[in-house]
Symmetry: C2
Subunit: 151 residues, 2 copies
DNA sequence: GCCTCATGTGATGTATGAAATTACAAGACT
DNA sequence: AGTCTTGTAATTTCATACATCACATGAGGC
């Protein structure tokens, strides 16, 4: 099953954007992610609509974060992606006439709904600032005394 | 994101198999699932190796469940599939050198690991017999007094 | 004004993996 | 022997996340 990596990419981008005041171009972000400028623009569109980032065109333009990292949760970022499916498994048939299949679906749905609620609740408590703090921890642990690799 | 429907299919099959003593052919099962006999054999192989079902060849052959539905949990079935990924999202880069990306991955991993543990625990408590009981409920609620559609 | 740099977005191409199909070997009953 | 079944490898199909291409639009710099 191929996985959706947009949440991971978006968080990565936002944290880098929070480290600088200068706008970052889609091209620059794409190189950081090992991705493509057009893909970056597309996944940033949701964040722009959510009011978390701004884009400026022309010379010296690019993307800039316009909220403090304390004000952005992982849930906000997830919702900016359009709240994609969290689970990799689903029903073979969403509207089965077979009663057995209906019960199987109901059983699976109950499990996934419980787990979805739990993980979204977790996402709601996770702020970008907390991830930033963890980056600082990693930096002081692993590269104490020399320039850190933030690429 | 395309979803993995094998768990749903397997549970569906097993419950139908539990309703009869006669062996069910892969072809018959495939028609029930709207699938293909070869696909059925493939997903049943894990259950056979787990000791939950048996296959007999030749005339009158087919698949038969060899454990009581009280003795099979959803977790058993999930494991028979090879414990596939539960989550539809993942890391863009599993071994990043970028410290920011490492922290993002760690944050996401913590959330998914917690949720995975919770849902597997739930699967471990769910027995096929409980789904069977729910089928009975649906039958008495929806088709009281006439033959039920178990196709 | 014109050129360059940037975003915005529709259209198309590529890669991946689940599912479906094809093909054939082997076992079991009639 | 002939038919029905499972067991599997090989191949094709199909959905879709991601990449790329093409071009319009907006914002400096000259």
């Amino acid at each position: 099953m191929r996985q959706d990596t947009r949440l991971s990419r978006l968080l990565h981008v936002l944290l880098h954007m929070a480290q600088t005041d200068a706008p970052m171009t889609s091209q620059h972000i794409a190189e950081m992610l090992g991705s493509n400028a057009v893909v970056v623009r597309r996944i940033m569109a949701g964040l722009r609509e959510g009011g978390y980032v701004e884009a400026e065109r022309g010379h010296g333009g690019g993307w800039r974060i316009i909220r403090r990292t304390e004000e952005i949760t992982v849930l906000d970022v997830y919702r900016s992606l359009g709240s994609p499916d969290l689970f990799a498994f689903g029903f073979s048939n969403p509207q089965p006439s077979c009663l057995v299949e209906q019960s199987v679906n109901a059983t699976i749905a109950e499990s996934t709904e419980t787990a979805t609620a739990a993980i979204l609740e977790k996402f709601a408590t996770l702020r970008l600032s907390q991830i930033e703090a963890e980056v600082q921890e990693r930096m002081s642990k692993r590269t104490r005394g020399r320039a850190a690799d933030l690429g």
